[in-house]
Symmetry: C2
Subunit: 569 residues, 2 copies
């Protein structure tokens, strides 16, 4: 017998998550770049569960389609039934199937789909229809009966229809007898509104990936030059709103399957709960990333895109910002911190936080001392995480002065921890190390929620996002310190619920920490860094909305942190 080695494997540590599901009805592209294969790859890369209904098997590669085997209609019916039985029917809460995405449809597939559109609409399953009529290589993939089924039954039931530019012209031509003339973006905007009225789909996106425009919105005559842009044009009929997403034209050989991929990316983002205003730019970013991220082309024709990139979930990071918003922040709002704390969404929460009852109880010696000790332990646990997020900030800081500044912040936080420990250790003989954090400190739920939130921001946001997430703690404690000190100055000095002068001194010194010179200075530096960081980037409205949400989330987490202490008093 050969020698045997035993290797023990560790259990993976995972945080379970829920997966929404997208079902794709399309043809299979054996070369993996388009069709079902591109859809499944894309859906999975978006953190969404993918189901299939394969309408046809093609034998193809990046150079062309050789043969097509269509799936019998009865088999398609069985597949859809099986999938609906398992992913729509029989759930107590929401069922996982959020979107049915269609690609190349055979007559059989279009027939079966049209039989099911009412069922899907009734069950809140959105239809995202990519009307694949012409492949990148120019072959017409769909026959006339299928087109008729689409017009009669499917288009009017779809949430979103995503023809590319050529398909949009053809679809309009198929119905109106004559293809429209489009020479400018303005013409295209007119066409999209007219086409929506023809198709009767709820929303319409004309994908413009292959069609470059000049900067002034004319159809470009040549597909080269630095100034070319592409335009993906969205019309939302309920809102009666056109949005033109412009991006730099990418001259890439990796274009096989871009249409399928963009549509399935949008379907996935819609399944995740994004609006079309969010889903479309995120999906354009996904497809452009995939066009640029291959070091060498695969296949000998138009190469496939790279589907292995993780889909971006932050719409703000894919949209260009504007200078005017930046100067408004400074001129109209008196800086970023002032903007956030006076924001309609945040104003009341900020007051609830910085004038929290916890601070009043401390200032007037009315907080039971064991509650305060519990708070201090929680705060030590929190501060360790707060220091770590500054480590992440250092790793993405845009200047070395700011890298250095993060190190100084960590240093200050560590001193704050030492002061907390000194209060506990010297007076009450309580000591602990990081190793004890989980057992001895036993963080309560609000503390864990806050730390988890910070960690997530630290790992997913840029320097600005991190700075906004740490701002409510830094600046809120400065304001709370002033608020509490004022109350304490008017306090009669009585011990309240405390049992010794020592305890009262601990309360006084805690308030003093946050009104001290060094804390006031740290607070002012923080305000300036926030302003400087925003001044250094082009900020978009969407990004500012996201930052506002982060600031508000953290403010609410601060409130919950103190509520935990005071709610039983």
């Amino acid at each position: 017998m050969p020698k045997t080695t035993y290797i023990e494997l560790l259990s993976p540590q995972v945080t379970p998550k829920s997966l929404p599901a997208v079902l794709t009805v399309a043809g299979s592209d054996s070369s993996g770049g388009a069709g079902i294969e591109a859809d499944i790859k894309t859906i999975n890369a978006h953190g969404v569960y993918g189901l299939t209904c394969i309408a046809a098997l093609t034998a193809q590669n990046t150079s062309g389609v050789e043969a097509v085997e269509q799936t019998p209609i009865e088999h398609l019916r069985k597949i859809l039934k099986k999938n609906f039985d398992d992913f729509v029917e029989g759930y107590k809460g929401e069922h996982p199937l959020k979107v049915v995405k269609t690609g190349m449809l055979t007559e059989a597939a279009a027939t079966v789909l049209s039989e099911n559109v009412d069922y899907l609409n009734k069950n809140d399953v959105k239809i995202v229809m990519d009307p694949v009529m012409v492949s990148t290589s120019g072959v017409t993939l769909t026959d006339n009966k299928t087109v008729q089924l689409c017009f009669d039954k499917i288009f009017p039931s779809t949430f979103l229809c995503t023809p590319n530019y050529v398909e949009a012209l053809q679809l309009y031509g198929a119905k109106e007898g004559k293809e429209p003339e489009v020479k400018s973006l303005a013409d295209l905007e007119k066409l999209i509104v007219a086409l929506q009225q023809v198709l009767k789909c709820q929303n319409l996106l004309v994908k413009g990936g292959h069609i470059p425009w000049t900067k002034d919105g004319k159809l470009a005559e040549q597909k080269n030059g630095d100034d070319l842009v592409i335009a993906d044009v969205l019309y939302e009929s309920k809102e009666d709103r056109i949005t033109v997403f412009k991006s730099p034209y990418i001259s890439s050989e990796n274009t096989h399957g871009t249409g399928c991929t963009l549509a399935s990316s949008i379907a996935s983002n819609v399944a995740k709960g994004f609006t079309l205003q969010q889903a479309v730019p995120l999906s354009i970013n996904y497809i452009h990333t995939g066009m640029l991220s291959l070091a060498s082309k695969l296949g000998h024709g138009h190469g496939p895109v790279d589907h292995t990139n993780i889909a971006n979930n932050s719409v703000q990071t894919v949209i260009k910002g504007s200078d005017s918003l930046k100067s408004d922040l400074k001129e109209k709002h008196g800086g970023a911190l002032s903007f956030f704390k006076n924001h309609e969404l945040i104003k009341d929460n900020w007051k609830r936080y910085t004038e929290h009852r916890f601070v009043e109880l401390v200032a007037t010696n009315k907080l039971p001392f064991d509650k305060f000790l519990f708070y201090l332990k929680q705060d030590v646990y929190y501060l360790v995480n707060y220091a770590q997020i500054h480590g992440l900030a250092a790793s993405v800081a845009p200047s070395y002065e700011q890298i250095h500044a993060q190190a100084e912040v960590i240093d200050n936080i560590m001193k704050e921890i030492e002061r907390h420990k000194a209060k506990l250790l010297k007076k009450y003989n309580i000591d602990f190390d990081k190793a004890d954090l989980d057992s001895e400190l036993q963080p309560a739920k609000p503390c864990i929620a806050y730390c988890d939130y910070l960690l997530k921001v630290g790992k997913t946001q840029d320097f600005l996002g991190i700075k906004v997430a740490v701002a409510p703690c830094l600046h809120g404690y400065a304001e709370a310190g002033i608020y509490g000190s004022k109350i304490r100055a008017q306090h009669d000095g009585s011990l309240g619920v405390l049992s010794s002068i020592d305890e009262s001194e601990v309360y006084g010194s805690w308030l003093d920490d946050y009104t001290s010179d060094w804390y006031t200075e740290a607070n002012e530096i923080g305000i300036k860094v926030l302003d400087d960081t925003i001044a250094a980037v082009d900020i978009s409205e969407q990004r500012l909305d996201e930052l506002t949400k982060i600031f508000n989330d953290v403010t609410l987490l601060e409130i919950a942190f103190w509520d935990e202490i005071t709610e039983t008093i």
Copy 2:
């Protein structure tokens, strides 16, 4: 006309990468959890390009298979031809197709595959064969003619065959007339060797996911209890070596498609260049993560696993370590730093680095001063990245003392940058900010390569991995400083190629920096932190190998950094 909003999108910033490819020949599972769908999801999640050859379309869900439509043999031939034409033929260098993975095979698929095994072997395309004969739900999926084709032609040509436990018994029984009796792991080890001789595949993995064993290696009678383990047993015939990968038994409802997924994960890892000793534990980790990462089950039968998790590339993080290795490091090798720099792989490189000609040229005033200025600028660029990796270290530090220590290190690095800048600024009126780093400092290729490597380590490794990656710089400069200072002490004081005493003083002060008290202290603290960090974890041989590789990689990057300066002198 409705109102139009124009939104400008940013171009994604990407680092292009190469994708190896895996072709999967299997049936489609419309419910997305097994078959082609599971394969494609898994392959993509491993950063590998997936191609397909769909042998059959099933109408199924998690509760069972309802109907199967087989793909005609001629169509399968066309699909394979198209894929080989595009992913094997016509490449100047290596072709992208590394692995063909098979799942459920129809007779037609087995026939076409057997026609192509010689072609695949000739073209270095490995075959990973998952002999799907029985699904999780107990249905036999393959007929006898297909089994015969496998035995005659396919098994003997496969790189790896991956039956599950039940299939292993059946395959043995099919050939030998009688299923073997397995009551213990020892019996299974005997069976795997015998089965390999029957199948004649190069390597054989018996997947044990469904079969729990007791701690002492007996077949467990019940599928519950904390002490149960599962065993995936690998036999490599060339090495005549059995490896048993043991992991805690996971009681999960999410088991639909686990077999396909494990096999396609291994196929992907093999395509990426991992050995089976690495690929198998990584793939077990991928499948276990997928079984645990769903917050709620999908479907009403055995639910699918979650394929959306990014595959782990660090085999060391999935293997349990041992105490003995840790004490060896301390007792036998005199600590971690000493172990690494005296390692067979590193020893000579360490000497080439710490006694680099650059240091000699500085010590003897023989380095042209413009070369030194170029080095200093490069080093400033590098140090900024070096500081940022310490930010990442802080964010994953296991104790708050060590979080604090990282902040102090960043502070020290910043002071080092300031000293570099002072040398340049005061004497030569050269100043720059981070904003100028890319233009003014113009990092050379070795500098960029080094920074990229550090950043990758910082983002993918734990605290220990980061500490090992920063060690060669910290400790190597201390040794180089001593080496250079000794040479300079014997130097006659002549200006050499320099043009002023000022320049000579810059060289002297550069050497003094790395022999100064504060640097010596930092060096000693670093040695201790490395030892403490290793002492705090269970380290495996595989992990130590990986750390050794990191230490060596960085040592070579240090050499290249100085070679860039000296190679034209």
